[in-house]
């Protein structure tokens, strides 16, 4: 929690969300955002700087984070200190739920771009959950979805080659984060993060990415990636065409 700075956000920060996360911040909730927030009198908005931790693996959880803006990575550190990225969290995601039921966080959560989130202290979250069975079902849905994604990654890691996994993850990132005006992926990842997400070395990733460029499947400019041939990438990733 030392990395967290509780920042009083200005009114405009809260009231003019950028269009793409207008609907995202409080998913699975039928009432308005204001109604929802009013349930958590101890909740507060916090800003997390780029590269700062929201929480760390094995830390006792203080509460949950509902991401309103920005992307963070959930990562574990394995033997030899090597990092492995489990997934990326985006606006609308709730982080730290499973930690609460475990006593410790499963992974590190690190902001890879500045993150704005709504923080609800653990006790308040649990109290609200116990009183409200619909909310509790909604939170279960979030967990189900995360487990589903994790199991798909297990299957991919077991059955797909590095090349197939790179293609699959690029398509996946485009589906989740979309593209900017110039058709480049709307998420900026370092090479290292991408390699740690695919589960391969930086060198292997670089080799595969240049190969993809040569085959005109992707284009890279200023670290940003543009997918040129979705059909070929899907075939390569062995997934049904997008």
């Amino acid at each position: 929690m030392n990395d967290l700075k509780a920042v009083k956000l200005t009114k405009s920060d809260l009231q003019t969300p950028s269009p793409e996360n207008e609907v995202a911040p409080f998913p699975f909730w039928e009432s308005s955002k204001e109604d929802f927030l009013s349930h958590f009198s101890n909740g507060r908005y916090i800003k997390i700087n780029k590269n700062a931790y929201l929480f760390r693996e094995n830390d006792p959880p203080q509460g949950i984070f509902c991401i309103c803006e920005g992307v963070s990575k959930l990562a574990r550190t394995g033997k030899n200190g090597k990092e492995y990225i489990i997934r990326f969290a985006q606006p609308g995601d709730w982080l730290g739920v499973s930690g609460i039921y475990h006593g410790t966080h499963i992974s590190d959560a690190v902001a890879i771009e500045p993150v704005k989130s709504f923080f609800v202290p653990k006790d308040e979250f649990i109290r609200f959950l116990n009183r409200n069975s619909q909310f509790s079902l909604n939170v279960m849905k979030i967990l189900c979805d995360e487990i589903e994604k994790a199991e798909n990654r297990i299957t991919a890691l077991a059955q797909k080659t590095a090349r197939e996994r790179v293609a699959e993850i690029l398509l996946n990132l485009q589906q989740v984060y979309g593209i900017d005006n110039n058709k480049y992926l709307n998420i900026l990842l370092t090479r290292k993060d991408l390699a740690n997400f695919v589960g391969i070395s930086n060198a292997t990733l670089s080799r595969l990415m240049s190969d993809f460029q040569r085959k005109k499947l992707i284009r890279i400019k200023n670290k940003k990636i543009r997918l040129l041939d979705l059909k070929k990438l899907s075939t390569l990733a062995r997934i049904a065409a997008v």
Binding site: I100, H102, C144, A150, G199
Partner: protein
């Protein structure tokens, strides 16, 4: 083969104590007992299939079950194992989606099925039950995410050793205290580890040469646990 089954009684169920239903009231339990159905599933049969819609919650009364996914080349990956007292298919039920995996017994399994509406009514009324479910989901998430980092970072040899230790812990031992109490084919084992069957066979005989394990048909006997732990390179 007699396939007639008298439904196991919830009240006398041995495994209920360690299931999510351990804290139901007598009335709630009777409600479940009246509404449920059940059957014996044999190896080779499926309990549910990917892409079908869940009609209820499966609760394992006896036997062990594998939950797996199949890619389009037909290759199977076991994502988790379940045993008596565990529930199956609850994630699709909660998220209101189609089954995203297959479930099949590893040995004869008796499975009760609780209708969807009954399950939701219980979750709504009994906050302890929903708390237990939340804890269960958190545990499952933790183990799935742990497996992701294992898959990415460990060698097949390390993963096989770790899988054997996991099986010993999960299934327990037979009366001799060393034979793992599960009958998995080599193919199943390969599908848990995430590798080819022949690779599993090769490493198993290596482990046998190292005197870490002994093999007797499908059964695996753990002789030197410390050796396996070392091979598995377990650090957390």
């Amino acid at each position: 083969m007699n396939r007639k089954l008298t439904l196991p009684s919830c009240e006398e169920c041995q495994t209920r104590a360690c299931s999510i239903f351990s804290e139901l009231t007598k009335a709630e339990m009777d409600f479940v007992a009246e509404s449920k159905g059940g059957n014996i599933y044999k190896r080779g049969q499926n309990i549910f299939y990917e892409g079908t819609r869940p009609s209820g919650l499966h609760c394992i009364s006896s036997g062990k079950v594998k939950v797996y996914k199949i890619d389009h080349t037909g290759k199977e990956q076991i994502v988790r194992l379940a045993k008596a007292g565990d529930i199956l298919g609850y994630r699709s039920l909660i998220s209101g989606e189609l089954y995203s995996s297959f479930a099949a017994p590893l040995e004869d399994a008796v499975i009760c099925t609780i209708p969807k509406e009954v399950f939701f009514e219980l979750v709504e009324k009994n906050s302890t039950l929903s708390m237990r479910l939340m804890r269960l989901l958190s545990r499952e998430l933790r183990s799935a995410e742990g497996r992701i980092s294992n898959m990415a970072q460990k060698t097949v040899r390390e993963r096989l050793a770790e899988t054997l230790l996991m099986l010993a812990e999960f299934c327990g031992f037979e009366k001799d205290g060393t034979t793992i109490d599960v009958s998995l084919t080599r193919e199943d084992l390969a599908n848990i580890v995430g590798t080819a069957t022949e690779t599993v066979i090769r490493f198993l005989s290596e482990f046998k040469q190292d005197k870490s394990i002994d093999l007797k048909g499908r059964k695996i006997r753990v002789i030197n646990r410390a050796n396996l732990v070392r091979t598995a390179n377990i650090y957390d």
